[in-house]
């Protein structure tokens, strides 16, 4: 039976029970390759499908999912969701959005045909590993790979929504382990692109090697206050740890620490932060959210002023507003909110001015998942990078920690550069920012 027919049957059963609902069907295919000592170590081919149903009956919400797609399992899916709803508290603000649209992303843009063969991708995986392993002092390349992933999401609702989004991504990554005497270092990074021929394997290898070699001589620096610049990989990660501050869902639940700060100055006036799902150059590009609401650029912080939280239909209704197109829901999860693609606006400082004097360039933070409290803003992370002077890398630094409070940190901005950089996943576009007086312990 065609997917559309299965969806129609499921939603008809939901309607017959006097309920509303929406159904998400995720399908994916992926190829993953890893090399070891000149030969392919792992070759993984996967295909998956999962159905996720949300029903709303008598203002109560129930969620159920199934990876099995036979008729009996899909009937059980409906029964479970309805039963689950019967236990939930009344939630008057959560509804199925009256979006009766037919929406579809452009496959030519997001999921282009690619002539590269599996043999081409295997050759690239072997090339990356061999090329990096052949560099002086490289002991081995323990983590490396090439991936080709294609994911499709279909959303159907009792309101008539039929949305389809499909995206493909090619990625490669490599980490080198270098040992010299009793010293060692391991660094690496990745690349992502829509098409295979856009991957730059040699660039990846050269950069991974240089970063690892530089870090071999790394040591701690004296404890104290330092100006800090996070590189283009670390800065988006830091903002994502504290993304709760923008969440309308957290505000509704009473745990967003900035819920009463809208319209007030929460950051240095040089900082303007926007969610930009409309930038098709990035992999966070989105036409619509998981409720079928059009995605749009949303200014979160404008010149330091907290201008907007992000909302789905439920949180928007709670606060008396409209959805900002940030509804998120997976087949296995409840309705939430999420950012698409963060962008920090260009500053007015030339980089040579921004990077004048001494500062700590942080190229890696560890413990992001455990060393932060998004509610209080407190954090303490392991860090590595370089002590720099006038934009030039000096001593490699490792074995130190940085600590502070994020909500205070964004008020201590010394300057913002006049050039923007993507992170390697291409999900955030940010300039360099110089933060003042961060506590570093070594």
């Amino acid at each position: 039976m065609a997917l559309e027919d299965q969806a129609s049957q499921i939603l008809e059963q939901v309607r017959a029970q006097g309920a509303q609902g929406d159904l998400i069907v995720d399908q994916g295919e992926a190829l993953s390759l890893k090399a070891k000592e000149g030969a392919l170590e792992e070759h993984k081919v996967t295909s998956s499908q999962v159905f996720g149903l949300r029903v709303i009956k008598d203002q109560r919400v129930g969620i159920a999912y199934s990876e099995a797609s036979d008729a009996a399992s899909l009937q059980a899916l409906v029964d479970q969701a309805l039963l689950n709803a019967s236990y939930a508290a009344v939630e008057p603000f959560e509804t199925i959005v009256p979006n009766g649209f037919s929406l579809e992303t452009d496959d030519r843009l997001l999921s282009p045909e690619d002539p590269a063969s599996v043999a081409d991708k295997i050759a690239l995986a072997l090339q990356i590993e061999a090329s990096l392993a052949s560099k002086p002092e490289v002991k081995n390349v323990p983590y490396n790979g090439v991936q080709d992933m294609c994911a499709e999401r279909r959303v159907f609702s009792t309101a008539g929504l039929m949305a389809r989004s499909k995206a493909r991504s090619m990625a490669c990554f490599a980490y080198a382990l270098i040992e010299a005497g009793d010293k060692n270092a391991m660094e690496g990074l990745g690349q992502t692109a829509r098409r295979f021929d856009q991957l730059d394997a040699q660039g990846l290898v050269d950069l991974a090697y240089q970063n690892t070699l530089d870090m071999l001589e790394g040591s701690a620096i004296a404890s104290g206050k330092y100006d800090v610049v996070f590189d283009e990989e670390v800065l988006p990660s830091l903002f994502s740890v504290f993304a709760m501050m923008f969440s309308g869902k957290s505000a509704k639940d009473g745990v967003n620490p900035l819920r009463d700060k809208l319209g007030t100055q929460i950051a240095d006036a040089k900082l303007t932060l926007t969610d930009r799902p409309d930038n098709a150059d990035g992999f966070g590009y989105a036409l619509f959210d998981d409720e079928g609401t059009p995605a749009q650029a949303t200014a979160l912080i404008s010149e330091g002023v907290f201008t907007s939280m992000i909302h789905n239909s439920m949180t928007a209704a709670f606060f008396g507003g409209v959805s900002t197109g940030h509804g998120t829901r997976g087949p296995k999860s409840t309705l939430g909110v999420g950012l698409h693609q963060l962008e920090i606006a260009l500053g007015d400082m030339a980089e040579d001015a921004l990077l004048a004097g001494t500062y700590f360039l942080i190229t890696d933070l560890t413990g992001l998942h455990s060393g932060a409290n998004p509610i209080s803003g407190e954090f303490s992370f392991g860090a590595s990078g370089y002590l720099c002077k006038d934009g030039i890398r000096g001593q490699a630094v490792r074995g130190v920690t940085v600590a502070g409070n994020f909500y205070e940190l964004i008020q201590r901005i010394g300057g913002i550069g006049n050039a923007q950089y993507w992170n390697w996943q291409k999900t955030a576009l940010m300039p360099k920012i110089r933060f003042l007086d961060m506590q570093v312990s070594g």
Partner: protein, 482 residues
């Protein structure tokens, strides 16, 4: 054929007939034979069907009730040292053979082995569960537990502004076939109940959390007390609300029992998995028999402990699990070895091949990992410190196996001076390297306990316990704001 019975999770009279094979034996034979025919020297099918249920509360209300079915088949083919892996949600023989053909397209060769006839065996159930998800989801009693914990937390102080509760239950059924004649089945029942309390005072907010769990059913409710859960979550939140900035720098640290064992998990456990050892991506890969820790340290990874969160009957390669002595009196005595790791390193398998689900090839992973208790006294440990930290509760951590550099977070800490606990501190991270910190553990106490965690690595997130008695690290870098 796969059994996909119509059922309702909450109607005990419509149980899934789990005891039937999830894949018809004849079909499994055909698929394994096909793997051999394309030239694999080892072929394996891993079939999984899992039920899940999550009940979430926000303060005194049910926020959501979710449930679902995970189902899929993982196919592993080994060609020499190369692993080919694929999975699908479909059960037809043609689909399974199609995946094999796609996987092996670049490796086709003449058959090199013959399939050994399946010899069905089922492990003895060492971790019995009675209130399983397929028998009764017990939604009402789980909700009652979470709301009672919420009430206890709120009763602790009027500055407790919010609580979040969650009760997650999973019933995982697996079936394995391989070309060496293995055919086995197992069932695992996981339960975990958690409450997070948030304390607020003006603009200041802080949180505390308590969690219980195990490899058993909801009969766990007989072993846990919602008042204790609520009290403990509230106590931690209140301590953190009044905490001062943590001093930073190198200093001695006393690490509390239970989840404090994350220090060994990160500092050493991951470095002993053949997943890293075989690649020489572990600083311990060539240290077997060497003194790698202080002689006060003996450490174990034990999959056999009754009903513990990280326990299993068999691993995800079908081997009976075991108790593995990793370190004895400071000397490295064993790695954690899965099938592939055994072939690559020559060490015997330890029943440590684990995976999150059918979506992952197995890899050597930890189970219940802990430092064995010693005989030191808590007051003696604190009393030996001039200036340092007592890390009463730990959060998560991470490690880079190649260099051994790790970090982990302190979620409840106290500054210690002149041999006495002085005041609570907040936002601290401990960092070091595995080889360094193992030699700095100088005292281990008697108050041993285990705690639940989810460990993420190459084969996904698997339930693992960490554990220890309170212990003292003589010198480690503490990152704080003070």
């Amino acid at each position: 054929m796969v059994v996909l019975m119509p059922y309702n999770l909450y109607q005990p009279n419509q149980l899934i007939k789990w005891k039937q094979p999830m894949l018809d034996v004849a079909r499994a034979e055909g698929v394994i034979d096909h793997g051999i025919a394309v030239g694999a020297n080892f072929a394996e099918l891993f079939i999984e069907k899992s039920l899940t249920s999550t009940i979430s509360t926000l303060s005194h209300q049910v926020q959501s009730v979710e449930s679902g079915i995970d189902f899929g088949i993982g196919i592993r083919l080994v060609f020499g040292g190369k692993v080919l892996y694929g999975y699908t949600n479909k059960t037809e023989a043609d689909e399974l053979k199609r995946i094999i053909n796609e996987l092996a397209a670049m490796d086709l060769r003449d058959p090199s082995i013959e399939r050994i006839a399946f010899n069905f065996s089922k492990p003895e159930e060492a971790h019995p569960a009675t209130l399983t998800l397929s028998s009764d989801a017990e939604v009402e009693s789980k909700v009652a537990y979470l709301l009672a914990a919420d009430a206890a937390a709120r009763a602790a102080s009027n500055v407790i502004s919010q609580t979040r509760g969650a009760c997650r239950q999973k019933e995982q059924h697996i079936e394995l076939f391989n070309s060496e004649g293995l055919h086995t089945q197992d069932a695992r029942n996981y339960i975990r109940a958690t409450l997070t309390a948030i304390a607020a005072d003006g603009q200041e907010q802080a949180s505390g959390m308590w969690s219980d769990g195990g490899l058993l059913g909801w009969e766990m409710r007989e072993q846990v007390d919602p008042k204790r859960t609520g009290d403990e979550a509230a106590r931690q939140a209140l301590v953190n609300l009044g905490a001062k900035a943590c001093p930073s720098g190198r200093m001695p640290v006393v690490i509390g029992n239970g989840f404090g064992g994350v220090i060994f998990h990160e500092a050493c456990g991951h470095l002993l998995e053949t997943t890293s050892v075989a690649k020489k991506a572990s600083v311990f890969h060539d240290k077997m028999g060497a003194l790698i820790a202080n002689e006060a340290v003996s450490a174990v990874d034990d999959g056999t402990m009754a009903n513990e969160w990280g326990s299993i009957n068999i691993d995800d390669e079908g081997m009976a699990t075991q108790r593995t002595q990793l370190i004895k009196d400071g000397k490295l005595t064993s790695f954690l070895v899965d099938r592939l790791g055994s072939e690559q390193t020559g060490f015997e398998r330890t029943g440590s091949g684990r995976r999150e689900s059918y979506k992952f090839a197995p890899a050597s992973r930890m189970r219940n990992t802990f430092i064995e208790p010693g005989d030191a006294d808590f007051d003696e440990m604190i009393g030996s410190i001039d200036r340092g930290l007592y890390a009463a509760q730990m959060g998560g951590g991470s490690v880079q196996p190649g260099t051994g550099e790790f970090n982990f977070a302190v979620t409840e800490g106290y500054y210690v001076e002149d041999g006495k606990i002085q005041y609570p501190v907040k936002a601290a991270t401990l960092i070091s390297t595995g080889p360094a910190v193992l030699k700095e553990i100088s005292m281990v106490g008697r108050d041993f306990s285990l705690a639940c965690g989810m460990c993420g690595s190459v084969s996904g997130a698997v339930p693992t316990s960490v554990g220890q008695a309170t212990l003292k690290v003589d010198d480690i870098l503490v990152g704080g704001q003070g």
